[in-house]
Symmetry: D2
Subunit: 309 residues, 4 copies
């Protein structure tokens, strides 16, 4: 199972479960894999931004990779963004050895010009090796690096192991259209485009040509349904379901706070034993917890899966 | 009519109407004032970020202020953010002379430390003069300046003419709670808190203690209704109405693109003669226009005011 | 006298003189013009970053332009960077009407991608009009906008009224070499390249192909001498003079503090009546003043012009 | 040998030597330690920004620490800045076990407010443990994080294991004076203040109360001499020596390019076998090499140690 340019569907971004005292919670990892399997996801992405990757040391990171890859019946992408190519190479090699399907690489926030970005990905692609497929993470809101469609085209043309775009530019709909137009004109090889940014525009992104989602919304079932309804041309139905989740999805997408919401709901849903984050952690105030509970109750009127008792 | 610490309700952020060839469109200004009056807003804010203020020269800016202030039956806040205190002083004085109720000041993006921010507002407050009430615009997503509740407290304590906060931090709910707690402990004077950021969290912001909204969503009637329902304790009703608008509101809130959506809808609603922006302008592609039209049709099922034919 | 692609020499960046109470000090403006004339500069640049341009209102800015242009026996460049094209157009038109030789335009700090920068200058060039020659200000340290040689090439090719580069990238020597190579290959029209960044690398910049300096060091005589010695092939002599000034030049080049040093020395030299800055102002502590005095005494051992009594 | 609040002198920032094919060059490490010992430094700092730390994987980083600590007759500080506290904790523990004297911690570039910075260092101090002394690296030019003297004071008060400041703010002289004033008023414990930023202001920093230098200039002998002359009150002599080196020091201090200059000169001086950097690497053009050679020849007229043949 390696990552492909033709991948369609939903790669869930999985959080890293911790026990109440901050240790790795491998029992929750197992339950999480079962949960995502039942939700119908196509694959899983671990050790991304929201996987608290920087809070794991080297051995812990590999322990998580091994556990997930061993249990998962689907491909697993591993985030290997690192301050330098040496750590990236070493983490990527270990992850692929353990059975990962590919790796995801975010740009360092110091990149500015088009050439700097293109050169960075050339260096990264070389560091991980031609046999390792990789995903570009295009997330200007968090990384401060702005990639034009042309820059993504150059990266895709230069590096045959670039097979997927985690699209989370904002606004980003025109970018999807532009990339698909480049492909139609044979100016670049096809990329699988999975959308992140919390899923906030997934309803229209699928209509613009995205292949699905790669994000961590706490109801992955909704992402799976919306992507498959959209693929089946059931437009209104897809929007109806999406809109029912939008108030909670929007709440979860708050920068910094989102992971706390996500872990809280996944704990409420019985997936995680605790919502613990390692420091530095965002925490939900009692008022915020009450707001999430209220949103869950409102959602449950439209989607039975949100009934938590 | 001057701005007050007790202000509650909705200050609409008004766009600046242009004719198809880029001239000021004063006829649309008049229609816009009537439209906002009918929508029940408490006041109007002009020459903000989304008012394309930097694209007006000095004389044009004053022409807009004069026209709006003359016609409006409610208080008008004028954005006077400027690269230096001299232009800020001069624009502020002119606006107040013309009858503005107060001014709004955003921080320059170079500010970093707490003291730099506090000192900047001290300088700005002095520049506009003690008799001119002002609004702090707290919008880190756009300006890159992060103000803690403590910094806002210090600004409010130091400058008696600081009467209002345009709250658009993200996430921002805890900030409202923190400021209201400071006030309850008598550690700072009351500020009117009106929420921006496109209204994306208005449903909960009112519940946390915000006094209303200051934002430019293309259906100000919804903002007015949600704020008044929330004030009346009609919680579920407020959320129901808010949620019906959320898909469009979210679409409108895209950075850079939002103004194009807003002007397009206001033109569709008959308020603006054209959706023209001055350069540099964001433009809606045919696909984007079709998406907005689709969202409007879906909204119209819940809210008659979105029926545009 | 309009600005030319062939300009060689030194354009001094002039400060804006204020009286002790913060008013415009036109008497000092006159003395300053005489001083720069005696120093042998080729031209003058006013209303730049270090000219405290944002602290002047519209009328004051024009008053300064008029006074300088009227008195100066050499071309005058006027900084017209503005948050929007409308103010840029209006300030540029007024400056050219008053007799300016050209205008200087810095990029807004929000620009990121190559295309964004190229498009911005296309818009600016259109706003000021084809008849107004302009200078690109390439100063990433202050503006956060990084222009590759290729981006500068595209701007120069696209806009015939782009005639000069104020080069203050850091490091920047290879950029000069790259641009001169483009010109040699006929890939772009010649640009006059005058170097800023306080003059910190002027000794080598001239050797790489720069045409001179555009900076505000408090001994413009040194800049003039170094540029002419370098042009005459008197390499060691140029470096000897430059090195003698380097300790003070380095002190003056401190971001934020530099203008205070410059105004202090120009006041000591009898050019400015006071070293006053408008707020927000950087101020020299007694310790800093003692340091500058010490540097001046040390400099005077090598350069008589630094003997201030 | 652990790091102390009373440390005075010069901690050289050591580069990481690589062989021509990019492998660790431990023979050069040994020669480098001898070189710094002969130069009279007080200590050594390894795995900092200019030590290409992010280009080493975990095992390589520890191999460098072990080799240097084993050979060095003086204390060694190890850079442990990391994207998360887990890697920081693990690298710090390993380094201290191997005999390091303390660790150095730079702030992540996402920090903005005073509280965020203070909280980050509280988390870091806890992660490395109370028994591990640490150095704050205050380098806004590179990290984009601005720490006021008050913020540094709070960090020093809150964390007894904070013993040293690597001061490289720019401008920064007043910051040294402010911190020494806080100490004199008993508002904070004494910090050892060693100055970085390439040494560009070392001449005055020592006079303001700095205890010495922590920087990597390719003639550490000059840093040692200037610090000891300043301590002995031989002011003019200190400045004379400093000024003789300033043209080269300024050339070496260019962001990005500086490491290439430093490794080139250290290779010329016979310390490193090659000037190789791992990718991404800055490279000296033939023109740049000729410029450095010219600066070395000019320096050799004043300082015999720069005679390289």
């Amino acid at each position: 199972m390696t990552l492909s340019r033709e991948t369609r569907g939903v790669y869930a971004i999985a959080p890293t479960p911790f026990t109440a005292d901050g240790g790795l919670d491998l029992a929750s990892v197992d339950r999480m894999v079962e949960f995502y399997t039942a939700a119908g996801v196509t694959g899983l992405t671990i050790l991304g931004q929201l996987g608290e990757a920087p809070k794991l040391d080297h051995d812990e990171a590999l322990a998580v990779v091994e556990r997930v890859v061993t249990r998962a019946p689907f491909p697993v992408v591993v985030g290997v963004s690192a301050p330098g190519f040496a750590s990236m190479r070493s983490l990527s090699a270990s992850a692929m050895d353990l059975g990962a399907a590919g790796v995801m690489i975010a740009p360092p926030s110091t990149l500015r010009t088009d050439d700097q970005i293109v050169n960075y990905y050339a260096g990264a692609a070389a560091a991980i090796g031609a046999g390792t497929p990789f995903v570009i993470q295009d997330y200007p809101l968090t990384f401060g690096v702005v990639m034009t469609p042309e820059v993504i085209r150059r990266i895709a043309v230069d590096n045959p192991n670039c097979v997927m775009l985690k699209h989370e530019d904002w606004p980003g709909l025109e970018k999807i259209s532009a990339l698909r137009a480049f492909e139609a004109e044979d100016r670049m090889p096809r990329l699988s485009v999975l959308c992140g940014n919390g899923g906030l525009f997934l309803d229209f992104e699928t209509e613009r040509g995205a292949d699905g989602a790669m994000t961590g919304y706490c109801f992955p079932e909704m992402l799976v349904d919306v992507v498959s309804m959209a693929a089946a041309g059931r437009r209104d139905e897809a929007h109806d379901l999406f809109d029912a989740h939008l108030p909670l999805l929007r709440y979860e997408q708050q920068p910094g706070l989102g992971l706390a919401v996500r872990k809280y709901v996944l704990a409420q849903r019985g997936v995680l034993t605790t919502a613990t984050q390692r420091t530095p952690a965002s925490r939900l105030s009692p008022a915020a917890i009450a707001e999430v509970d209220y949103l869950l109750r409102r959602l449950a009127r439209h989607d039975d899966r949100a009934k938590l008792d």
